[in-house]
């Protein structure tokens, strides 16, 4: 089972840009997405030990972190990074 934790902030232009790309790419994947806002959910995101660059996508396979995507990526880069993850049937 694939779970994706997405951490963004509403004031962050990179997050606004990446939300469009995430939505395009993630809509085809069979994954569970959990969204956190860095300001509203500060307690909840503390265990993720994030740095200062947003947005952050943390991907878990069977509850084990397997990939962390940080900052802006092109759609092409995002597709490559998420290659091989299960698609919706």
């Amino acid at each position: 089972m694939i779970k994706i934790v997405r951490i963004t902030a509403i004031w962050c232009p990179s997050c606004i840009i990446m939300n469009n790309r995430y939505n395009e790419v993630l809509k085809d994947l069979d994954v569970t997405i959990i969204d956190y806002d860095i300001d509203e959910d500060s307690d909840a995101i503390e265990p993720f030990n994030i740095g200062s660059v947003l947005p952050i996508l943390i991907i878990y396979r069977d509850e084990i972190e397997v990939l962390r995507i940080i900052g802006e990526k092109t759609k092409k880069e995002l597709l490559k990074l998420l290659e091989g993850y299960p698609k919706k049937s």
């Binding site: 509403i10 232009p13 606004i16």
Partner: protein
């Protein structure tokens, strides 16, 4: 400004209040305490004075058909403009566009609206930090209802081509052009007539904190964000503060009247600053040729921005890391976006000068930076 050994070089964060402006506020507070919404003659006189102040503000800014909506500051004005237009026009379209160099009080509104289902695009930009006009033309659609581009970006100081943006936006009948002019008014000459919604703040132009305005072209419809009783505008409820309104008008009056005179002083100080920074090895200037002379963004690449700021602060020199409203993260997104350099983005400080800055203050700053740069 030199007092108590403080060298203040953070005038884009806030400015000291002008004595004349302060006296206007104090005098009006003593003399006109009545609620302008009341029915008695003194209240009517206060209402008339607010109307007079609005008329003079329009005149100072060379505007004819904009309503002056008084707010608590630029953050509220930006919220009113962006959310107000988006919510009013959402039946026509839900596509909105912003520049990547906006203050967080603009970008947060766009992020909020994106969460509410609006489609948000962020403009690309040229190497000098000005927005890419061809990209804007490509992004514009029939359902585009709002474009927001600041007059001057707060971190880097890049001046945007407001006139050209206005022409592109207005070739689409449903699109409204908003510009956060907080860092532009009083610092540089900008043609405002082509902007539908203009944000400004008093405390950036030697006025008082707690007052700003949204200037709305009469034809532009927005939904209020603060509802309640009667006010000087139907679009923003709350008892109008005549003393703050009069003080804002005076601050704008002085800032616009003294613009040319102050510009000459600041340009000379800016040249001194740039020349000195260029002589310090390890120092990289992030501001571009499109920057206004009041704002210089610079990196000392061997030092984290917070450490440099703390060191300068110990020497009594006050500058910013990023814009004051988004401090807390270690990297300047605006600098990273422009330079693509992680080192520059993590080590950038903003030096913002004014006509009150002195040559000796610039020399003290250069000496302090020179002592830590490698």
């Amino acid at each position: 400004m030199e007092s108590d050994n403080m060298i203040y070089l953070d005038y884009s964060a806030t400015t000291p209040v002008n004595e004349i402006v302060l006296n206007v506020f104090v005098d009006a507070s003593r003399r006109f305490f009545v609620n302008p919404n009341s029915a008695y003659p003194e209240a009517k006189a206060s209402q008339t004075m607010i109307e007079g102040a609005s008329e003079r503000i329009r005149s100072h800014l060379h505007l004819t058909s904009h309503e002056v909506i008084y707010t608590s500051g630029a953050t509220e004005a930006n919220n009113l403009a962006i959310k107000g237009v988006a919510l009013k026009q959402q039946n026509i379209g839900k596509h909105i566009i912003m520049s990547p160099f906006e203050h967080s009080s603009v970008s947060a509104c766009f992020g909020y609206l994106q969460k509410q289902g609006f489609s948000v695009d962020v403009l690309s930009f040229n190497s000098d930090g000005t927005v890419d006009l061809e990209n804007l033309k490509q992004m514009m659609r029939q359902d585009t209802i709002l474009v927001s581009v600041c007059g001057v970006a707060s971190e880097l100081g890049n001046l945007q081509p407001i006139d050209a943006i206005s022409k592109i936006v207005h070739s689409y009948p449903n699109a409204v052009f908003h510009s956060d002019m907080t860092q532009a008014i009083g610092k540089t000459a900008v043609k405002l007539e082509g902007v539908d919604l203009i944000t400004l703040s008093a405390h950036k132009i030697y006025g008082l904190k707690g007052v700003g305005a949204l200037l709305r072209r009469d034809a532009i419809k927005i939904i209020p964000q603060i509802h309640g009783g009667k006010s000087s505008s139907n679009l923003r409820s709350g008892t109008p503060s005549l003393p703050l309104v009069l003080s804002l008008e005076k601050a704008i009056d002085i800032a616009t009247s003294d613009l040319a005179k102050n510009h000459l002083i600041i340009r000379k100080l800016h040249q001194q600053l740039i020349s000195g920074l260029n002589d310090i090895s390890g120092c990289v200037i992030n501001s571009t040729v499109a920057g206004i002379p009041q704002i210089t963004n610079v990196s000392v690449v061997t030092m984290e921005a917070n450490d440099l700021q703390a060191y300068l602060s110990q020497q009594g020199i006050y500058v910013s890391t990023q814009s004051a409203c988004s401090s807390g993260t270690a990297r300047s997104e605006a600098v990273y976006r422009l330079t693509k350099s992680e080192a520059q983005a993590r080590s950038s400080i903003r030096i913002s000068i004014s006509h009150l800055t002195t040559e000796s203050e610039i020399n003290a700053l250069l000496k302090a930076i020179g002592s830590v740069a490698l």
